[in-house]
């Protein structure tokens, strides 16, 4: 285990605060002597230990130095390289004017007491905290703990960066010599290099690292930027929270990878701005904060002086309109107060109430407990007030769970019956492998909702979402019904779903209010590949210039669009780019709901409207709005069903 904290304070500069781990006072003195031997660094104070040195273990020492950024940077590289070669008796792990890092081995509370942080009267404009279960490096030394720092950046990271080797190659070619060998440290070095040496602004630097998929029309400027900085782009799963001070302002950045393989949530109240892995963490500090998630591959940026600069989503402004009005929790003595309970205690308490004959159990002060309701196969109702943790209602069969608040990731996974009602937002992987019952979410939902949903005989799951969703809605979907209403975006032309809707879908039906761009449905080849191919067909006169230009002028298109414009012969050719042996033709309709649609959906619309007090809006949408309706094209011939791979 490892843990650590970083604090960034705008007016704290007393020169560079250099912090090093060393096995003894002697080594600590050697480290700072070596810094000075570089010739351009003046050590202003004696290195002092930050806590009582423990025999043979690395202890943190601090001293102040005077130097230019460049001189200190290269001196730190040299010293760390020497220390590494000499059998790792120490390492400089933080050197900034405004950044101060405290890290060690153990739980956050251990590090907090090790550095006696309570007695130090520390204040800051930005705090970062982290705890880790190491997967990529041993956890036994404090150098592997987060935050990682370089210059006036401090970062914490959750994930495993697959581009790590490429990023290391760039850093190595730029003269970075010494690494502790964990993927997370490269993030600090890259951000520091891009902003301090290359003088990119924070936004540009973070955009490069985020490495977002090119959505829609490629823009030449981004292509050049991404090409030039290809060694700084991150791939693989990550969510990162970073802080930076340039001397004028303090910046807070949070960003997620292009697939959004790791959770990240940001929030804001009257006094503070927050970013965390889980909403429950923000709620612990600020029960009333507005919170939202970042789009896949996007970043959140705020500063001390400017507040939220970029919210991490393009459609932020209407974001919590549906979910903020939450019912006040009950105060009866009957309810369970989950304040000091872990998930086992909580599920046990619920079970005891049920066994005592309760038909409804109210739970208040829920804050991040996972697995609520898992293994409780009783036809009773749970009312949850607060923010339940991940894996709510997993494998649920009979419970009705009503949440007055937002839920976190992975709600209703492999749920086969019962009902989940969420009065706020849901996050990622909602209703994964959902196979029976109903899940209603009043607000927005995150990435990968309804993936691998399936139905069997009379068991047909229904997932209804009042707001909007991110990418991969209904990926690998094999059955059941998903409805996305976007009630918070009525009377706008905003698309309420992200990319790759219904990718790999083989069964079931998805209803999305409003028009969905063709390119967002399924997985389409890059636009540039298709235009290249069509250009080739044009040169061979298999398509006309008029046809080519008609397609080129479209904002986006799919194979269905191409079929409408091109001759069957040309379509046969270009289909190659779209069709493969795993590809299943999707039917995409854009129309009002029919009576046969409503036969299935009407009871759910009524319930949804009644529960969330949105009858009027739902009725209006059902009667007036067009829906994009997606389902796989039915097979024209019967075939032997083969078992799906796991």
């Amino acid at each position: 285990m490892g843990a650590g904290f970083a604090r960034i304070r705008l007016d704290s500069a007393r020169g560079w605060r250099v912090k090093a781990f060393a096995v003894s006072d002697t080594v600590a003195y050697q480290i700072f002597d070596m810094l000075e031997e570089n010739g351009h660094v003046e050590v202003l104070s004696q290195p002092s230990p930050e806590y009582a040195p423990m025999n043979g273990a690395l202890t943190s020492y601090t001293a102040y130095v005077d130097a230019s950024y460049e001189s200190l940077w290269s001196a730190v590289q040299e010293v760390n390289e020497v220390l590494w070669r000499d059998g790792f008796k120490g390492r400089i792990y933080s050197w900034g004017r405004f950044v101060d890092v405290y890290k060690g081995v153990g739980y956050p509370a251990d590090v907090y007491s090790l550095y006696q942080m309570e007695n130090r009267g520390l204040d800051a404009d930005l705090w970062i905290a982290h705890t880790r279960q190491p997967t990529n490096s041993p956890g036994r030394l404090p150098v592997w703990s987060h935050p990682f720092s370089s210059g006036d950046w401090a970062i914490v990271h959750n994930g495993d960066i697959s581009s790590f080797g490429s990023n290391m190659e760039l850093l190595w070619s730029l003269g970075y010599e010494s690494f502790v060998g964990t993927d997370s440290e490269v993030i600090a070095y890259l951000l520091d290099y891009l902003t301090s040496i290359q003088r990119l602004n924070v936004q540009e630097a973070v955009r490069i690292l985020c490495n977002r998929f090119n959505r829609g029309l490629p823009d030449q400027e981004s292509i050049k930027l991404f090409y030039r900085w290809r060694g700084a782009r991150l791939d693989g799963p990550f969510s990162v929270i970073a802080g930076f001070c340039d001397g004028d302002d303090v910046y807070m950045v949070a960003f997620a990878d292009r697939f959004k393989f790791r959770p990240i949530i940001v929030g804001e109240d009257e006094n503070y701005i927050y970013a965390a892995s889980e909403e429950a963490q923000i709620r612990t500090i600020s029960p009333e904060a507005n919170v939202w998630t970042i789009e896949p591959g996007d970043y959140f940026l705020a500063s001390l002086k400017k507040g939220v600069i970029y919210p991490g989503r393009t459609l932020h402004e209407r974001f919590y309109t549906l979910s903020t009005q939450l019912k006040h929790p009950p105060t009866t003595r009957d309810c369970i107060d989950a304040s000091y309970m872990n998930y086992r205690m909580l599920n046990q308490a619920i079970l005891e109430r049920i066994k005592a004959g309760a038909r409804q159990v109210d739970i208040i002060n829920v804050r991040g407990q996972r697995y609520i309701g898992v293994g409780l196969d009783y036809p009773v109702k749970l009312r949850i007030f607060g923010t339940p943790g991940n894996c709510l209602a997993n494998l649920n069969k009979s419970l009705e769970i009503e949440v007055f608040g937002n839920v976190q990731d992975d709600v209703g996974d492999v749920m086969t019956g019962g009902r989940v009602i969420v009065h706020g937002d849901a996050r990622d992987v909602l209703a994964q492998a959902f196979q029976g019952g109903a899940i209603y979410v009043k607000g927005n939902a995150g990435n990968r909702c309804g993936i691998q949903m399936r139905e069997y005989r009379d068991r047909r799951p229904v997932l209804m979402i009042g707001g909007r969703v991110d990418d991969y809605l209904g990926e690998y979907m094999a059955g059941g019904v998903i409805v996305v209403l976007g009630l918070n975006y009525l009377d706008t032309d905003v698309e309420i779903v992200g990319d790759c809707v219904a990718s790999g879908m083989v069964g079931g039906t998805i209803y999305i209010r409003g028009k969905v761009s063709p390119r967002k449905i399924g997985l389409n080849p890059p636009r540039a590949d298709v235009m290249q191919y069509l250009r080739g067909l044009l040169l061979e006169e298999m398509i006309s210039l008029k046809e080519y230009e008609a397609i080129e002028s479209l904002k986006d298109f799919s194979l269905i669009t191409l079929r409408e414009i091109l001759s069957p012969e040309a379509v046969k050719h270009v289909s190659k780019l779209y069709v493969n042996k795993y590809w299943k033709e999707l039917v995409v309709e854009y129309r009002r709901l029919s009576s046969s649609d409503l036969a299935v959906l009407q009871p759910h619309f009524e319930e949804f409207g009644k529960i969330f007090n949105l009858r009027e809006e739902v009725n209006r949408v059902v009667e007036e709005n067009y829906f994009t309706i997606i389902y796989p094209k039915p097979d024209t011939r019967t075939r032997v069903e083969e078992p799906e791979e796991g």
């Binding site: 080797g165 760039l170 292509i223």
Partner: protein
């Protein structure tokens, strides 16, 4: 033992649609080794290199349902290839088929390397994808676009440099060099204005392609131009007639190649014969390239990577070496398996 083992040829031909009925479709493969060096006798250094693969915290990616970017940019970002492949070996192709091959390659968005260019005029679009081989003698009337000079020594470069001056400004200069350890050549070539280097094992040279390529990548990374590593301004291409498959291309990518010139692989894959009907040749090239692109995507997905140029090229950390002498691992920058 032949480079062109039966299963390698068969796989290429299945992709091209010469054999079987699944043109363009890679056979589904497992993660794990059914290939050299563990099962078959290794022929090349490449056969000792394996992909480290995705694991729990870094999940694999399904390229059939989620985006996986195989495109690479060359010529300073001006040329976009849909996949890291350039078709070469056109000297073995009947003159009447040149156009067919070039148009098929163009449609699929790959590059085309023409070693003995006929004096034909190209469509301006196609020209951008053609890496046209030139010598200092025949630059008159050359259409603007990428031009390749074979340069075997620093002395030769001086002659080329004079010739280059007579070329227009929008000519993109590519140096084709032998597979050697002549590091000073890269420096000279770059300072002469070349922005792409092809390391071509078929031009000779005393080093295996893998070593020469990897060292070139590292040399260029330590060569600053305007204070920034030259490697990030220039493209690096590997060429050899023994590049057999998408897995070879994938591994050469890891050793630093932005793209590879394939020669015998595609000729064998499409079962090229001078009497092959044009439409069949065209169809097979398309199928083969689509198939290879999908294989590269599958390999990327299995390594938990979604962008070839930013995450595979030069990313030695994603690879491990089996049964390779330690000094060779050092030269390649690839760790031995288990490390």
């Amino acid at each position: 033992m032949s480079v062109w083992r039966r299963d390698i040829v068969s796989n290429l031909r299945l992709l091209a649609g010469v054999e079987g009925k699944t043109a363009g479709e890679p056979p589904i493969a497992s993660m794990g080794a059914t290939n050299p060096p563990l099962i078959e006798r290794p022929l090349f250094i490449l056969d000792h290199i394996v992909s480290d693969g995705a694991q729990v915290t870094r999940p694999s990616i399904d390229p059939y349902r989620e985006p996986t970017e195989t495109e690479v940019y060359l010529l300073g970002g001006d040329l976009r290839l849909t996949m890291p492949i350039i078709i070469g070996g056109l000297t073995s192709v009947d003159a009447k088929h040149l156009d067919v091959v070039m148009l098929a390659g163009f449609r699929m968005g790959v590059g085309i390397h023409l070693e003995n260019p006929p004096s034909l005029q190209f469509h301006v679009d196609v020209r951008r994808h053609v890496f046209l081989e030139a010598s200092e003698g025949d630059l008159q009337g050359l259409q603007s676009g990428p031009v390749v000079f074979s340069i075997e020594s620093v002395e030769e470069l001086a002659k080329v440099r004079r010739a280059v001056k007579s070329l227009g400004l929008d000519t993109q200069l590519i140096a084709r060099v032998p597979s050697s350890a002549n590091r000073s050549l890269y420096r000279e070539v770059l300072f002469a204005g070349f922005q792409t280097v092809i390391i071509d094992e078929d031009l000779g040279g005393e080093e295996p392609l893998e070593v020469s390529l990897s060292e070139a990548d590292h040399t260029l990374k330590k060569l600053p131009i305007n204070g920034f590593p030259a490697r990030y301004y220039v493209g690096l291409i590997a060429a050899s007639k023994r590049i057999r498959s998408s897995s070879d291309i994938f591994k050469l990518g890891g050793l630093g190649a932005d793209a590879c010139i394939i020669r015998d692989a595609w000729l064998i894959g499409v079962d090229y014969k001078p009497d092959i009907p044009a439409h069949q040749l065209s169809e097979r090239i398309e199928n083969l390239l689509i198939g290879m692109q999908r294989e590269i995507k599958l390999l990327m997905g299995a390594a938990g990577v979604s962008s070839f140029q930013s995450s595979i090229v030069g990313n030695r950390e994603l690879f491990r070496a089996i049964d390779l002498p330690y000094h060779m691992c050092e030269r390649l920058g690839v760790k031995p398996a288990g490390e």
